[in-house]
Symmetry: C2
Subunit: 322 residues, 2 copies
């Protein structure tokens, strides 16, 4: 990735790098002024939908390392951002991508990185409309993407009501083995939930289920989970076995699942909803893991089997790793 | 800025830092879901204007160092971004701000940084609606801002016509002495130029006049500049004297002037336009520095006095410092 020969960013000027990026992206960056090439990207108004804005970062040595390819790293930053749009029930539209890098970055590595950006953007109809290039010290690489989406009916956090059912898509835990860079953001699922008014609250699971559950409600409600029902990824079992841990703890605390966690309005029949889901998304597992309950004075999240608080769990924290 | 005692980011978790940032910003971050607090910011549609999107970076050790205060650094990243909106004739609306930092960053430094963010955002009616926190190695700090604006009639680059006059606001060169962090983005001026259909092309001068001039036209036109007319900042003279250089070279090549460079449509009377400008912007100097001419086969920019090409100039380049 970083190297001392001549095939690095050091040997290109800014205009050359930008011209190459435009070529690499092809139709993924529309002609200026929508795409790369002016002081700002200029995008048309969309009168009927609210705009969504989110931003996410990819740091070499933190969010990825040399064990994945440049193309996989490029995909990852796009997919991470798309997952935030999915969590609102939105449609991705535009993104800017800032590259901060040491000038000893391999030019070919950057090319491969943009291949991943282009492939994943094309799959989900995202256009790259601008960005920024910035030189860091050698051996450093970071990318920051800001994504703009549209949502006719965005689904917020903290808005679940008592008696709503709690669902999660996919399977949780152990994403470090592969899923953290290789996953499908649940865009179609999120849009379907939003546009049919099924969900009362929704987030994507990026920092571990135990942490994200707290975002479903405000202080007017608490959360009851059936720990045994949590869908465990095979990689959670594999890792738990290796480290003599409980796989449920992996599913609760590991980061980067990129699944949807949402509450179904209690006015909607669970059985009918689950049948509809299976018809629309036969490939996407859906699991009911709990219920929104009256505020619990002792703990915000309790296990429905033991009725004991689920606490002391080590979920991911960005500045304070325990 | 970075320190080893307990008053650093290391001693706060992510939720605590975000809560503090929300307090520091106060009304500058509206209540969620517009402001900080959900997977995405949700902003209302604005059917009558096009959206502008731009992104800019502030790196410790590159765009600022310990010679300016945290508050000045915070102001700088906002003002830099606003200058891009000004260059389109736009109105700033929303921004996301990502902080990438070593965990040994002083908590108080970050507080002061946000004071600068808040003050400059409030002045120009910009709302901070989201962001991201990311841990870097100790002693590193970067901020990335993406700004969203609106423009009923955005002014693009590369769109000047032959016989249009070239104007620049303010005075150029030597910004390193202070102006790079202490300047007024030319928002009102840009909006006035756009909404009255005066300008045919516009950019902001961030990488040196010599480089930015090339962005006014495409290959169907060239540029004639009266080198003697270029408005020199006092700091350009001061620095040139100190280093036995020509102050015009400072004005042509120094970065971070953050002035507007635009072309006046040739259908508009220069004298009347300049009189209107003085009435509207008595505090903002305006100087005619040249004209758009037929394509010149030898060089894209020539001096109207010597009729010789202006070349070999060392303008700022982000990856290839000479």
């Amino acid at each position: 990735m970083f190297q001392s020969d001549s095939q690095t960013l050091k040997n290109f000027n800014e205009i050359q790098i930008i011209e190459n990026i435009k070529q690499w992206l092809g139709s993924t960056t529309p002609p200026s002024p929508i795409g790369i090439g002016d002081d700002c990207a200029v995008v048309p108004p969309e009168p009927s939908a609210q705009s969504l804005i989110s931003t996410d970062t990819l740091v070499f040595g933190k969010h990825f390392d040399s064990s994945i390819t440049a193309e996989q790293a490029g995909r990852k930053i796009v997919l991470r951002n798309l997952s935030d749009i999915a969590a609102m029930g939105g449609h991705p539209k535009y993104a800017t991508l800032s590259i901060l890098s040491g000038s000893n970055l391999s030019f070919n590595w950057l090319h491969q990185f943009y291949k991943g950006i282009k492939a994943s953007s094309d799959t989900y109809n995202l256009k790259i409309v601008g960005g920024d290039l910035c030189q860091l010290q050698d051996d450093h690489f970071q990318a920051v993407m800001t994504i703009i989406g549209r949502a006719p009916k965005p689904i917020l956090r903290h808005s679940a009501s008592i008696a709503d059912s709690i669902y999660v898509t996919g399977q949780l835990g152990g994403s470090i083995l592969e899923k953290h860079y290789n996953f499908q953001p649940r865009l179609a699922e999120g849009q379907w939930l939003a546009e049919n008014n099924f969900a009362s609250a929704m987030v994507d699971v990026t920092d571990g289920l135990a942490k994200e559950l707290n975002f479903l409600t405000d202080e007017s409600a608490s959360i009851q989970i059936d720990l045994k029902s949590i869908p465990l990824a095979q990689s959670a079992r594999t890792l738990a076995e290796k480290h003599s841990e409980n796989p449920i703890e992996k599913a609760l605390c590991d980061g980067e699942d990129y699944e949807l966690l949402f509450t179904l309005k209690h006015s909607i029949q669970s059985a009918q909803f689950e049948a509809d889901w299976k018809q629309h998304f036969p490939q996407t597992p859906l699991t009911k893991i709990g219920t929104i309950i009256e505020p619990n004075p002792t703990a915000n999240i309790i296990d429905s089997n033991s009725l004991k608080p689920i606490d002391g769990l080590k979920s991911f924290d960005h500045f304070n790793h325990k």
